[in-house]
């Protein structure tokens, strides 16, 4: 049974290569382009990991992170923020909301794969 990754981003130019990358590495990929769609898919598919952009329509990345972390049944879901917000304060805030990692755009594929694999190996 392959592990499931949810990619939340409204930019298709990000979603397409990420989906390809994850699928090539044997993960099942689902995507969402808004906050509400993301929450909906999380409850439906209970992904093992979420690649979460912060700025997109509807609920923002921080809010989604907060919702996931508030539910005990989703406590094992790993979250990686993938964002254009690069200030130290943004990173600190993301981690404070319970994210497992924070990757800034533009990222390297190897960097993001390494992070994903590390978080999902357990």
């Amino acid at each position: 049974m392959p592990q499931t990754i949810l990619i939340v981003d409204d930019e298709q130019s990000i979603v397409v290569p990420l989906r390809f990358l994850m699928e090539q590495n044997g993960y099942k990929v689902i995507t969402a382009s808004s906050g509400e769609e993301a929450v909906d898919k999380i409850s439906k598919f209970q992904p093992d990991l979420i690649l979460l952009d912060i700025i997109h329509p509807g609920l923002d990345g921080f809010e989604i992170c907060q919702i996931v972390r508030e539910k005990p049944e989703w406590k094992d879901t790993r979250i990686i923020f993938v964002s254009t917000m690069v200030r130290d304060a943004d990173v600190a805030k993301g981690l404070a909301f319970g994210a497992d990692a924070y990757i800034t755009k533009p990222f390297s594929n190897s960097q993001i794969m390494q992070q994903v694999k590390e978080l999902l190996k357990g």
Binding site: E11, I14, L21, T84, T104, P106, S110
Partner: protein, 729 residues
Amino acid sequence: MNPNNKFWWFVAISVSITLIIIASLAVLFWQQLPPEEKSLLLSIIKQNFLYIFSAAFLILAGLGFALDGIFHVYIIPTSKLVEETTLITSVNPSHRITIEGSSNIMRLARIINEGADRYEELQKNVEQRIDLAKAKAEEEKNILAAFMSELPEGVLICNAECRILFYSKQVKYMLMGADNVIPDSESGSDIASFGAGESFIGLGRSIFNIIDKNLVVHALDEIAEKLEHKEADISSNFVVVGKGNKLLRAEAVPILSHLRKFTGFIIIFTDITQQTEADRIVNFMLQSFTKSIRSSLAGIRSSIEAIIEYPDMESAQLQKFREIIHHQCITLGCVLDNISSDYSSHFITQWPLVPILAQNLVESIRSKAEEKLDIIIDMEYSDDQNRVKVDSYSIILGMLCVLNQLRNETANRKFTCNFERKGIFVNFDFIWHGNPIKIETLRKWDHQILILKNEELPLSLKAVLQYHEAEMWSNVCEGERDKSYLRLILPAIETYESEKIRRITILPESRPEFYDFDMFSQPGQIPELDNRPLNELAFTVFDTETTGLDPRGGDKIISVGSIRIVNGRLLHDERFDQFVDPERSLPFESIKIHGIQPEMLKGQPTIDKVLPFFQQFAEDTVLVAHNAAFDMRMLQINEAETGVKFINPVLDTLLLSAVVHPAQQDHNLEALAERLGVSIVGRHTALGDAIATGEIFIKLIPLLAKMGVYTLKDARIASQKTYYSRIKY
């Protein structure tokens, strides 16, 4: 005491003493007589009572007339002589003694007058020399004061008690808004200019009236701490919100005595509203562009890395990545374009447009075109007084670029330029022999960045023209079809629009009145007002014009005029002059006196609006008025309606005049002004009378000091003793 009262007291006492002496002698004489002589004397008195009584009456009457003569010929003239001589030697050397009295006293008066002539001449000579000696120092002071007034930063100086010693015009503007903070009824200011919450700025006033006390105290604490730790930077910074939500950075710097004792502080205000807004915009732009670029780069990088990493991917997938990369490259290009245009438009808003003579602009273009482009421009002058508002660097560079293109396009290197006012624009025409420039060509020029040899501005001609609200086109010259023109139109400005041009600083004859450094040693706390010397107190001298003289009978205030005195100087810059709508008719008799017509009061604020404002103006000062009982009564009668109660101490120049010149009969404003050498400008206008009263009061202070009246309390006690204090309205 009034001289007549003095006389009658004198007569009464003299007659009483004489009668007592006569009676005592008579009693002694009577007791020595044997009984038969007593009865003989009684019978003689009874028989001759009429003669004896008449003789006694005549003696007493003669004595009375003699005393009256002595009093009016010697005693009253002597006291007048003393008062008027004091006047000459103290405040009014031009005064001359004119009294009736004995020949000796008249002679003495003539001698004193002759002496006064010499004294006055001598004093004038001395004053001239002093004035000359002072002139240089005064000029330097004025340069300093004028310089500080013209600084873009506002400067405010306070003593250790936080009372204002100096403030520049900019402080007033930054904190209080325009000059109409103090209402000027003549200029038709409306009541809105002094709404609730307004405070006054003025010499001797507390800084807490205009800046939150906590901010100042915090800054002073910080300074004290830095001084204690002997830090290099001893200033303290804070931000205050000024008039119109201006954001002001305030830097407080201490003033220390030679013993490093804190004696006051300077606050320098800088308007950072624009800077803050500019920073905010730049910051916002930077963040927004960074996010867009990062997002696009993420797509491109991830796609390329995937292509490299998986060379065998399906062609459909590969095509997707190629499209992403293509799309994101276009997006990046757009982002960069936006950066350029947004930054340009932001950059452009920072330019100040400066008024310039059209002729000077053309002359600059002509000389630079010749120097840099070898283009000859013949000038045809028309009206050389027209002005336009430009950023000269960008507009000249823009025109040089256009002329460069024009030369290439028309193969001409000689142009004729004429400029003239047409409606609201000034037209600048560059004329040549040949066809006009096509619209499409001009459109191309519009979008080109301004580059000329080694000069470059990252802006298009269009952006520069737009910012100047200018336009440019080309057409055939009317009447000369073989000629064409390229026309630049710039909005003309009227001369009076040049409000931001720095004025030439004309040094005032005397130093500006808001400039005073003599108050460092002023104690200045309100509870001690009573014991402070008069020449150290702040006074608000005021006068009211009314519909009549009967406050109880319904007469109302129609004008309030006031001026402040601080450190013995009348502050002409700190006036209060306000008409008041009395909400009743104006009797013709009163119009004859003050000349205020009913239509002048239409639309003016009512007393309930004016008095709170006047109370603020007079805050922390002693009120002074001529015949103050009347004016105070006029204010008091409005207490119930306005809720404004004037609790300031009050001094009356009428009473003080009676204190210093008890022998004088006349203490009205005109007589007093004449006696003290004060000329009244605008008699029976509230402000005119208030100013005259102020000048009179300043001259009374040294005369009072000669009589031992130094403090506010002394002055009040002396006033109460005078006859005139019994007048009640």
